[in-house]
């Protein structure tokens, strides 16, 4: 087939698709779209919450665990996984750069409600000690990168880095008041340390806390930024784990039963 014929066929295909984009369906109206988005929210939020709790649970949970080494490395890695899977699914199926943000807005109310009901009302930990981190601003940036680059490879590198930095900035703003020093028990501690000691956690002796202890290294005191860069790198790996989940565990099994035009 000559080039002109190929171009003609492609143009005809585009015209058919343009008609399909706006085709009104008698029985599948926008209510179905709303039902889909709302009902999927519980599964997506739960999946992201479970993944986050399994990999980075305590760091997301307590203010005295939100340190400058482990928190920025593990938490964005844990959060990006399900968001990445949803990015792939939603871009493939609808060309919508919404996967990461949708995951974030599904996660936030579930995580917050869980903390408030279980840890606030049931056990009476103060909410300023057990607030969950937010990934919404980070998700917006990652989705923006996908829409601009239209490439999952570029999104995995640039988008993951932007996700990790955006996540850290949005959550550091919240932890900042709790990093102020205070004199307590004849020591200088942060407000978050005092929260961890004063609000009893009977089965979590302090030595179980995995935070920065200090090692021989030459970062000139810029530990935080080195952790951020490493966290961004680790987030790339998390992004591709999410891509694997989206491609191999979600889309590929469905694709075996769906008709492709």
């Amino acid at each position: 087939m000559t080039t002109t014929e190929e171009q003609l066929e492609q143009a005809q295909q585009f015209e058919r698709l343009k008609v399909l984009v706006d085709k009104p369906y008698r029985y599948i109206d926008r209510k179905w779209d709303a039902v889909f988005w709302v009902s999927a929210a519980f599964i997506v939020g739960a999946a992201c919450d479970i993944t986050k709790l399994l990999f980075a649970g305590d760091w997301d949970f307590w203010t005295d665990w939100k340190d400058r080494i482990w928190w920025p490395i593990l938490t964005p890695f844990a959060l990006v996984i399900i968001g990445s899977a949803l990015q792939y699914i939603q871009w493939l199926a609808w060309r919508m750069p919404t996967g990461m943000t949708y995951t974030a807005i599904c996660l936030w109310p579930l995580a917050t409600l869980g903390r408030w009901v279980q840890w606030g009302n049931f056990v009476h930990y103060p909410m300023n000690f057990v607030w969950p981190t937010t990934m919404v601003p980070a998700g917006i940036f990652a989705d923006w990168v996908l829409f601009k680059t239209k490439s999952f490879i570029l999104t995995s590198v640039v988008g993951s880095a932007v996700f990790a930095f955006g996540w850290w900035v949005s959550n550091y703003v919240m932890i900042a008041p709790y990093l102020q020093p205070a004199q307590w028990m004849d020591r200088i501690l942060t407000v978050s340390d005092i929260q961890g000691i004063e609000f009893i956690r009977s089965q979590t002796p302090e030595y179980l806390r995995i935070v920065e202890h200090g090692t021989l290294r030459s970062f000139l005191g810029e530990t935080q930024y080195v952790s951020l860069v490493f966290g961004a790198t680790v987030t790339i790996a998390g992004y591709w784990i999410g891509q694997f989940i989206g491609r191999m565990l979600a889309i590929w099994p469905i694709g075996r039963f769906m008709k492709k035009w």
Partner: protein
């Protein structure tokens, strides 16, 4: 048939929920007896403060303080199965149902101790914890000694009743400002989270509801695969009208607004909280106490530990030599959470974790003299506390024998003896 089976199954599950009683205390009894006896010896544990209720509870108001004082000995009989036989890091705390009381001060061997300590087998750790009533209710509170690589050992507990009263948790910052730890900056945390959430909602609503296709029709979701599966993955669908240049403009605006929001937040935290430090790790070795250096009054060699099932009595026989220059008398036998007092030495049993022992011969042991002491202990107390290791992998009774001399000086000696659970003839 299947429906009946399903209904029966549901009913069965429902009854387990309906009849489940709340678990609120004494979980330490589920730990193995021989481990509890061989690890920490709790002596002189006293709860003070508040009012005493008729039932023995301590009644305090929210915000009112009370104190737990005592001595925990890290016994030389520490088993090899825990922390590889070498306990190094410990944490003295309390066990209760969450933050129903708040820790205000903790002193170990006279030194304020916010977190973990370096520990050595055979040493004494004198603790004083000042706590505050926080949550209304009736709570069981134990002092605890957690050891890294092993777990948490509980001392004798006390019921604490917290009554309603206005309270706060004041903490003084480096800049002199006093804050309330209960709600410090809670509003700013929620504000930042809610604003972020709203930005995300705007993004999603644009793509799912407000946004339009190239022809100005509402954007669809469920029916789009008919189009999207026919175009390449790196095609954003502008050519077929799925997305538009307006979408690009809108996402740029939302992303910019988000970046601006984070920038404002960053500037705010940098100016509002100019001094910040990372979370602190405090670890040190407490100084030795007088108990560590006090002269030994007696050496002991346990000869037998027999349990009579019918009489419910535990009989210990211990050969004791007075190595001091003053007559001594057995004052107490302490094992895990239980303390047994010898009334003839002047010790009086009080509290739910104390009882009396019968000693024979009951008198003093003269300097240089060796006596074989027969100590009869009420087995029912061991039963109640699950401290009889029958059915466990090590049939051992261990504890501290506390001796007192004529001047009132005390010293303790550890004993450990295989348990022989058969009849006393």
């Amino acid at each position: 048939m299947i429906k009946r089976l399903a209904a029966l199954l549901l009913l069965g599950m429902a009854t387990t929920v309906a009849y489940a009683s709340p678990a609120s205390a004494h979980g330490e009894r589920s730990q193995e007896a021989f481990l509890r006896m061989r690890t920490i010896g709790w002596t002189d544990v006293v709860f003070s403060g508040g009012q005493r209720h008729a039932q023995g509870d301590i009644v305090i108001a929210q915000g009112e303080k009370f104190t737990i004082k005592g001595v925990a000995k890290l016994m030389n009989t520490w088993p090899d199965t825990l922390a590889k036989g070498l306990p190094r890091i410990g944490y003295i705390n309390i066990a209760t149902q969450g933050p129903c009381v708040a820790m205000l001060e903790r002193k170990i061997n006279g030194v304020s101790t916010p977190s973990r300590i370096e520990i050595t087998k055979g040493n004494y750790y004198s603790f004083e914890e000042t706590l505050m009533g926080r949550r209304v209710g009736r709570w069981h509170v134990h002092p605890t000694f957690a050891v890294k690589g092993a777990g948490t050992l509980l001392g004798p507990g006390q019921w604490i009743r917290v009554t309603p009263h206005a309270f706060s948790s004041p903490v003084k910052l480096y800049n002199g400002k006093t804050i309330n730890l209960e709600n410090y900056h809670l509003v700013s945390v929620w504000t930042i989270q809610v604003i972020g959430f709203l930005l995300g909602l705007i993004w999603i609503f644009w793509w799912t509801w407000w946004g339009k296709t190239a022809k100005g029709n509402p954007r669809r979701t469920v029916t789009n695969p008919a189009v999207t599966l026919a175009i390449p993955l790196n095609d954003d669908g502008i050519a077929v009208g799925l997305n538009t240049k307006k979408d690009h403009r809108v996402v740029n605006i939302i992303a910019l607004a988000t970046a601006l929001f984070l920038l404002i937040g960053w500037i705010w935290q940098a100016s509002a909280f100019p001094v910040k430090i990372p979370q602190q790790v405090v670890e040190y070795e407490p100084p030795k106490t007088d108990l560590d250096t006090a002269p030994t009054l007696a050496t002991v060699d346990a000869r037998s530990a027999k349990y009579d099932y019918q009489a419910k009595a535990l009989r210990l026989q211990v050969e004791t030599k007075n190595v001091s220059s003053s007559p001594i008398q057995l004052s107490q036998f302490v094992t895990s959470t239980l303390t047994f007092d010898n009334p003839s030495s002047g010790s009086t049993a009080y509290g739910p974790y104390q009882d009396t022992l019968k000693l024979s011969p009951s008198g003093t042991i003269q300097p240089g003299q060796t006596a074989t002491l027969t100590i009869d202990l009420p087995g029912s107390r061991f039963n109640d506390e699950h401290l009889l290791p029958t059915g466990e992998s090590q049939l051992v009774i261990a504890g501290l024998l506390v001796f007192k001399d004529a001047s009132g000086n005390k010293s303790s000696a550890e004993m450990e003896e295989p348990l022989q659970p058969h009849y006393i003839s």
